[in-house]
Symmetry: C2
Amino acid sequence: MTFPEVERWGVHDVVLEGPAAGNPFADVVLTARFQHLNRVVEVAGFYDGDGTYRIRFSPDREGHWRFVTSSNVPALDSRRGEFVCVAPGPGNHGPVRVVDRYHFSYADGTRYLPVGTTCYHWTHQMDEEHEESTLRSLARSPFTKVRMCVLPTGGMRPPALAFECDTPGKLDKTRFNPRFFAHLERRIADLCALGIVADVILLHPYDKGVWGVDDMTPEQDRYYLRYVVARLAAFRNVWWSMANEYDFNTNKTVADWDALLRYLQRLDPYARLRSIHNGTRMYEWAAVYDFTKPWLTHQSIQHWDATQVGQWREACAKPVVIDEICYEGDIERRWGNISGREMTRRFWLGTVAGGYVGHGECFVDSAYGRWVSRGGVLSGESPARIAFLRRILEEGPADWSRARQVGTYWLEYLGDRQPAFHSVELPDGGDYAIDVIDTWEMTVTPYGGRHRGHCRVPVGRTDLALRVKKVTG
Amino acid sequence: MTFPEVERWGVHDVVLEGPAAGNPFADVVLTARFQHLNRVVEVAGFYDGDGTYRIRFSPDREGHWRFVTSSNVPALDSRRGEFVCVAPGPGNHGPVRVVDRYHFSYADGTRYLPVGTTCYHWTHQMDEEHEESTLRSLARSPFTKVRMCVLPTGGMRPPALAFECDTPGKLDKTRFNPRFFAHLERRIADLCALGIVADVILLHPYDKGVWGVDDMTPEQDRYYLRYVVARLAAFRNVWWSMANEYDFNTNKTVADWDALLRYLQRLDPYARLRSIHNGTRMYEWAAVYDFTKPWLTHQSIQHWDATQVGQWREACAKPVVIDEICYEGDIERRWGNISGREMTRRFWLGTVAGGYVGHGECFVDSAYGRWVSRGGVLSGESPARIAFLRRILEEGPADWSRARQVGTYWLEYLGDRQPAFHSVELPDGGDYAIDVIDTWEMTVTPYGGRHRGHCRVPVGRTDLALRVKKVTG
């Protein structure tokens, strides 16, 4: 007997035929229990239109798996099947997990560096050529994470939406649009193939009363979450962002967000990374969502000031990801007109402080729309420098914040400072090599040979960093 | 009968001969009552060495003045004299006063713009050539105020000090050194001739246990203040800074500073401007000296963040003078290595927010010593830009913060932002002219002719400001 083969952390769809009458999204309950040895994972299925039902599963162990469905519809109930989970293919390192409190790793132990960018609605116009162009841009870019929305803004009139749209301009929130989701899933899979995380934004406050998707009832929100999780959670590159700028949504309280996040946590069989993103300035730590709440895996911060990373790390022992730090660009809005140099400085500041900084770009004369909204082509000056920073990080030890503690490797960033000399204190007991890194010109220049003790390194201009490595014990 | 002539706000010394034996600084009490019509000003005299006593007075009204002394020494008691106060000479606008809550003006109504710099000990080495060089630098510079210390640091070995130094390295705090003060006074008069305020720093915490001048007893402090005020207060360009980085002095409490400031207020017959300068970061307003205390005339702030000017103005209705905002330079210490561009940005940020920013410079390879310590020659890139900013301010209305309120004149500063267009909202009821100011390249480019309503000005690069002026009513 031959079983289907699925690679570890890949996606396996069990496809079943069932009723198309009525409202199958609401009427049909379908789940499956997948089992490998003594490991059992229960997964919800979903209606995919035209009488087709799918149960989407991502196995995390190699070997033989079997499953059995259960449903309130006889045709879908007690259906059984088997498949074999084989070794992951090239480039498949599994999903990302938090490690060492403040960092990330793929399931196979490979280090994951979140180098984020934002293209909120790059998939919504369903413009193949444009989306391929975005994917080409991403493939050439340093970015390993893209923030992207499931729901439209009030200003958009896309060809398909997450919900059915029978009456023009009016959504039927009891029925989903499988065509929309199939398209979205294909793009998430494309990102996966590029090694890029899809940081999926589930809700946002930009509806302006048009589609009615930012003031749904708790029941509607849960209905929506169940469907999205059933369809998307199996993709190993998915992270959940419960909301963008949650605090700009006046229809929900923090208690509502708590309830939704906890519900999401229960729904998701894979425990994908999970956070929520603030909109207001965080003058006070207390003013933002409390990232120490156990259902959040990391801090998804909006703030312009990367120098605060240390204090956010102290306040909460979870990775600090500044998903929005202002965008490189030239629009009028204050959040969208910093220079490439300033963006580069913020990346270095946040990184050296032990956080992860995200990029965005919005130029007035973008041909198709702004990168942060639509994707397309990158034209700023920062992506090349961010790529250079990523290269520097990848050349360093996986856990360089620990390396710093033990005095074997560290980066010092001088930013807008221009000291003639910068003193480096080298711990006793070894020789050190020091490189002078020009973060803007993207050069690495070794300083002398080996050093000990108090070392004064000539600097004399701005935008430099030092890389210090122990070379003998 | 011919009387001596003194110009209004000038300095008139009444010179008397008296005892030289014992310790005249401590033993002799000498004061004088100066009278013009019904105006009486009581002034303390001082011993100037070699049996000479002086009573130094600056008349503030034109006309006939007479005086009578009183003393515990018969030779100095009940001495009488007269003089005539004549109109001020060219360039003599009188002392500076606070006007319009947040601004300054000379006594004759001429606007005073404090454009500060710092040369803490430029007079202490008594090196004529170097001091003349400093004065030439200041004359060519945009600066209208210099922060300078009376007392030495622990690291200095100057040829003369404020106190006598009988035993090498050990001060006699009961006796002052008239030669030191005569030299200091000459330099204060030189600054006065250049139209520059001497922001005289009375105490500082840099003694390091060497001279013992930062841990004097309250009685010693008062003895010192009496002598300094008797000698220096008559110079119309003197401001008092009770202490530099007062909070780094662990020998004194805030209550001690209060007492000293109130004592100074009582001593000074001219009510020269009076403040105290903090050293620590002002994370919280509460963490610094409370500038609302009535014996302070202005806020003398150390802080790196000029964007906080608005909140300091709200917290305290007195002028905001950021006397230290980091120095342009290339030394290792964090406070001394910002670039000229960054210094320029901080000047503009603070100015447009309604504050006054001070300059300082410290480059490693300064020939004689660093500008902030010794004066000498300016080599940074910011002074030319600060001069340009000063020119822009001088071209504006005297009270441009009020002009802003009534919509007739304002500056908008874009700093590190680079919007393609910047929107200016012009109030109804008039035409406006707009200039685009390049704060770094020091150019002013008119944008179009006249404008009304919502006006989008092309920008597209960093370091620009806009000047908006109403041209018709």
